[in-house]
Amino acid sequence: SSVLEGLKYANSHEWVKHEGSVATIGITDHAQDHLGEVVFVELPEANSSVSKEKSFGAVESVKATSEILSPISGEVIEVNTKLTESPGLINSSPYEDGWMIKVKPSSPAELEALMGPKEYTKFCEEEDAAH
């Protein structure tokens, strides 16, 4: 699975793209590969808040439900409503069309604690090898 430069990654397999005062969040290619086809996505409302390492939604595949944990804390300013009709965008385009929420971070320093692409790639390899 692919890992992009310029993004930050959480050990629960979400990515963050930080641009100015906005952070865009989704799940990684590795995550969608493990989940299989996504058939439903549950996301928070705009103007709600998310907390670091707490669930902000859920992804439903054919066989199972998985919680989505937020890599950072902040206020949700936009939600990708296309995912309601087309949850498969998470499979076909996890880093672009399949983005989930845009957040105004309450503590930008939290971003520093996340993994870079090389570290995340190594993390995934180690995790897969352990199971």
């Binding site: 979400e14 493990h34 299989g36 058939v39 439903f40 992804v59 595949s61 054919v62 066989k63 919680e67």
Partner: protein
């Protein structure tokens, strides 16, 4: 995305096909104490659809096959299951239920009368220890009163399930016996691909197909031969797709849809209680079951369609006023129907097809309705 962690792989049992699965990209997971393929390179969605369009080959060797033999094996088994075993013609099988003293289901099982003195049956992997202990206990008591019955557990054999429209044409290439004369529920011992197999025309998908008991040492050769004869159209298929297929077919999964506290009547399996057995009883828990047949059960298994997220096991079912009327026992997204399906239990009287319900997922109510099952029409091969 949170991940579940599995039991130690080292403690899991392996089927004769384990290395074959790994070589073919099988994703192995723990299931009932075994390391089983949940999926191969094909996605679960694609595998499920392909089974109904072409065919699937499953390793179900984790399930437990056994034979009961002896002059009294039929009356013995009838003390434990609800089927009219005596009424089965030789070479014929049926789905049945092992019951406990309270009329609840210990396990469901496909039993086959080979001859009047030989019964072949298959029980669920997750129930093996419980079932074998139960049978052994009752066999001891039965024999101590002079009954003639003994058993053999077929641990030297593997079980393959070949399912779907191509199952019969492909298998016909591998045997000289005319499979067009073997109908749904029929059983035969015959040579397939050079080894002696027990063949039952049955399955757990709703499709036409077979369950093939083959000696362990010939299992890989048979799997390869089946895949080759189908020229790649019959695909290796894992437990993930199998679960979607059985759900689409409206079939129970023991541990989800059937348990010790649920009777065959409540589970909608009254048809599996033979007519003579309904009159005579003679199986464990008969008094409870015959009473339910007379009065009607208090809860019933039904199917559901729903909107929003798939409804999974343990989701609450409410009526339109918000009163709890039942619970989901199995559910997911149907790859063939492209919509959410589920099954579960609701109070009798609230079970009518078409009834609108609300199903709670993560605390939120979503629109649903009660429907008949199967969700996808079955295609069992029966005499016309």
């Amino acid at each position: 995305v949170s991940r579940r962690y599995f039991a130690s792989e080292a403690d899991l049992k392996k089927t004769a096909l384990y290395d074959f699965h790994v070589a073919h990209g099988g994703k192995m997971v723990p299931f009932a104490g075994w390391s089983m393929p949940i999926q191969y390179k094909d996605s679960i969605m694609d595998s499920t659809v392909n089974c109904r369009e072409n065919g699937s080959l499953f390793d179900v060797a984790h399930m437990c096959g056994l034979s009961l033999k002896g002059k009294d094996c039929v009356p013995f088994l009838e003390t434990l299951v609800v089927a009219d075993v005596a009424g089965l013609a030789p070479g014929t099988g049926s789905l049945t239920v092992f019951t406990n003293e309270k009329g609840g289901a210990i396990d469901d099982s496909v039993i086959t009368k080979v001859t009047d003195e030989h019964i072949y049956l298959v029980v669920n992997a997750g129930c093996r220890d419980k079932d074998l202990a139960h049978i052994e206990e009752h066999m001891k008591a039965f024999k101590s009163k002079g009954g003639d019955v003994s058993w053999h557990i077929h641990d030297e054999r593997s079980l393959l399930a070949l399912q779907g429209p191509l199952a019969a044409p492909v298998l016909q290439h591998l045997t000289k016996e005319d499979l067009s004369k073997l109908y749904f529920g029929n059983f035969q011992i015959l040579d397939i691909n050079g080894s002696t197999c027990f063949l039952t025309r049955t399955g757990y998908t709703g499709e036409d197909g077979f369950e093939i008991s083959v000696p362990d040492e010939h299992a890989v050769d048979l799997a390869k031969a089946i895949l080759e004869k189908s020229e790649g159209k019959v695909r290796l298929t894992g437990l993930g797709a199998r679960d979607s297929l059985r759900l689409e077919a409206g079939l129970c999964l023991y541990g989800n849809d059937m348990e010790q506290h649920i009777s065959p009547v409540e589970a909608g399996l009254t048809w599996a209680i033979g007519k003579r057995r309904r009159a005579e009883g003679g199986f464990l828990g008969a008094d409870v079951i015959l009473q339910q047949l007379k009065d009607g059960p208090t809860i019933r298994r039904v199917g559901f369609f729903s909107s929003g997220p798939p409804a999974r096991s343990h989701s609450e079912v409410h009526d339109e006023s918000g009163n709890k009327i039942g619970e989901i026992t199995s559910g997911g997204f149907s790859p063939n129907l492209k919509k959410n399906i589920a099954m579960g239990y609701v109070k009798s009287g609230q079970h009518k097809t078409g009834t609108k319900v609300k199903i709670l997922v993560r605390g939120k109510p979503y629109e649903g309705s009660i429907t008949k099952m199967p969700f996808v029409a079955t295609k069992y091969y029966k005499p016309t």
